[in-house]
Amino acid sequence: MMICSECGHKNRIGMLYCEECGRTLKPSPVDTTEDIVAVAAQEVPQPVVPYRKLAVTPPELKIRGTAHLNDNSWLMFNFGDGEKTLDVKPARRLIFGRADNTSPLKPDVDLSPYGALEKGVSRHHAVLELKEDTLVLSDAGSSNGTYLNGQRLAPNQPRVLRDGDEVKFGKLVAHIHFK
């Protein structure tokens, strides 16, 4: 339950506005059981017993990696089970895909050595752009889709890429590390 800090109404987790008073339900800074209870404790006098403790997550620990890239950072792509890696120097715009002799369009980053063909990578699969110090990834209208942390990207809808993210080109899985 998420307890509205304004009116005390109990809303189900995932609701974004209080059903009772219409105010925004602010997710606590770190959305753990402890924090939810902490809010509850201020509003409701009777003690609330936490039903469950989540795995230790100290607030300072970053769950998703940073989105900020240093000037001289490189990107490491870790394919599949980690046997193969690829280092990429970020540039303003990089096209990821599969080089193909029948097509004059060459990707900037060729994924063929990592099993691109069998894994359904398109010739022009995804675009990685550097915007100031953040990287944004978008699908270039590929046949089998680009996935960021398991979610399929809509074509040409950029999303911020973070350290430690998982990217899937079709069925080709890569873990990204900033270094």
Binding site: R12, M15, L16, E19, G22, Y51, I63, G120, G150, Q151
Partner: protein, 504 residues
């Protein structure tokens, strides 16, 4: 071989999929959509049928080759509309309690459609006008003038019919091309009000007239305009509406004044994918007719519907069309008619689902959404767009902000729901609760800068505290104005209406 859909899209696989991939995709979907697992879900049943058809086609080598060589090649080039689904969260915690997730589903016309759609779609329009005693006087006269002006604006290839009703119905203008406009205007001018209100009578005659010209070249629309309550024939009306939508006829309702049954008209319109409008003053009827016809002539796909198949442990709680024409949708059988798609404006829906307690940590599917529609001029029947929605269940905390589009839509929709909840409390006789909710609503409206509506809501809250009831006009104003807030474009129209009707 007539294949009204793309089997690869239906199975969610690429065109180069191997037999093994086809089989696996089929198994996965068939398991999720099987009727045994989804009782009372017509949406899942329809999707299951499609998945079976697609599987049968792709596992028969000859049909598959035929499809790939002939039909598929064409299909591949032509995308008429796309479906984009954004969840409120991409990852949820594996909690031992129920959770809520929202999906924003947007149906976009394909870009080339806008360019190729210079030519307007012709309309097949039926007006079903209430001429009961309560319409007497200037109200009737203004509606007649609006109808005459509407006839004037139609092109010779459109079709118009006019039906009037009180206790019984009369066809004033049988369905015809508006070529002899003076005589059509003359017939409208002879309308004289009398008697009571029996909507079913009018609706039967109206749908019958509309059906006479129902084809793929024109877009079919019945407008019901009433200012009163109908008694005893509501069920018949809803049955008729269900038949109408199967024939591609959309019924839109206009409630004039404040003494009509909003719940019934909403249900009637939603059954066909149409919308309900609240018209405070007869002066505004013309404007509503105009907007309606303009919207229709922009249509490039009709008989649009979305089927929603949540996974068996997930429940669809609510569906609401945000734009165009905000309208609560009926979710009973998981098949939701959406009337037509305009070439220049996407349709957006907000869906609310309940996730079960104790989900396994893994990536999992949530629901499969399929939008289908007929492209006008018979260019492509049953075009389909599919989206399979999945998310991650994890024990790791996610601090992602929900997408702005969802936050914005939901902030407005929450107000509409508050209004509903205030009315529910009032019906149960809980005056205190109703007053509190109306006051909350007024506060939120003020924060949003909707001063006039906030004031109207505040004075209704006071009225409820004193008289235990909302005023008829206040009830309608709060309901339909908060609803209009959901879509900025429609709000513009509604506000003009509000200001115009409140000028002394």
């Amino acid at each position: 071989m007539d294949v009204p859909f793309d089997p690869y899209t239906i199975l969610g696989i690429s065109r180069s999929a191997t037999d093994d991939e086809i089989r696996k995709a089929y198994r996965r979907l068939a398991q999720r959509l099987h009727p045994d697992k989804n009782p009372n879900n017509l949406g899942a049943e329809m999707q299951f049928r499609d998945v079976n058809l697609a599987h049968n086609l792709l596992t028969d080598p000859i049909s598959k080759r035929d499809y790939d060589l002939f039909i598929g090649a064409d299909n591949h080039q032509d995308t008429y509309f796309t479906l984009r689904v954004t969840p409120s969260k991409r990852a949820v915690l594996d909690l031992p309690e129920e959770q809520v997730i929202y999906l924003l589903a947007e149906i976009f016309p394909a870009p080339q459609v806008g360019e190729g759609q210079r030519k307007e779609t012709h309309v097949n329009l039926t007006l079903v006008l209430d001429i009961s005693n309560s319409m007497k006087g200037s109200r009737m006269e203004r509606v007649k003038i609006a109808a005459q002006r509407l006839v004037e604006d139609l092109s010779p290839e459109d079709v118009i019919s006019v039906v009037v009703f009180n206790d019984r119905a009369a066809v004033i203008i049988p369905a015809t091309n508006p070529t002899d406009k003076p005589s059509l205007r003359a017939r409208i001018s002879m309308i004289a009000p009398s008697g009571g209100t029996e909507i079913y009578q009018g609706l039967v005659a109206g749908v019958q007239q509309n059906r006479a010209f129902s084809d793929t070249k024109r877009i079919n629309s019945v407008i019901l305009l009433t200012d009163g309550h109908t008694f005893g024939d509501q069920e018949n009306c809803l049955t008729l509406a269900k038949q109408a939508v199967e024939q591609g006829i959309v019924i839109s309702a206009m409630g004039l004044g404040s003494d009509w049954n909003d719940e019934f008209l909403d249900k009637l319109a939603s059954t066909t994918g149409g919308a309900t409008s609240y018209i405070n003053s007869a002066d505004m009827v013309l404007r509503f007719f105009h907007d309606h016809v303009r919207t229709l002539s922009n249509a490039f796909a009709e008989r649009l519907q979305i089927t929603i198949a949540p996974d068996p442990d997930i429940r669809l709680e609510m569906a609401f069309r945000l734009s165009p024409n905000p309208q609560p949708l009926l979710i009973d059988d998981h098949v939701i008619p959406l009337s037509s798609l305009q070439a220049n404006r996407p349709i957006s829906l907000l869906l609310q689902f309940t996730l079960p307690p104790g989900m396994q940590k893994a990536f999992r599917t949530v629901a499969r959404l399929v939008v289908s529609g007929d492209i006008m001029q018979n260019r492509r029947p049953h075009f389909k767009a599919v989206s399979d929605v999945s998310l991650e269940v994890t024990d790791r905390v996610q601090n992602d902000e929900p997408p702005t589009a969802i936050m914005e839509a939901l902030s407005k929709l929450t107000l509409y729901r508050l209004q509903e909840k205030a009315r529910e409390a009032l019906e149960k006789g809980n005056i205190e609760e109703a007053t509190k909710r109306l006051n909350n609503l007024a506060t939120r409206l003020l924060e949003m800068g909707q001063t006039e509506l906030a004031q109207a809501t505040l004075s209704e809250a006071q009225r409820v505290a004193q008289t235990r009831a909302l005023s008829a006009q206040g009830k309608m104003t709060i309901k339909y104005q908060t609803r209009a807030l959901v879509s900025p474009l429609d709000l513009d129209t509604a506000l003009t209406n509000y200001i115009a009707t409140n000028d002394p």
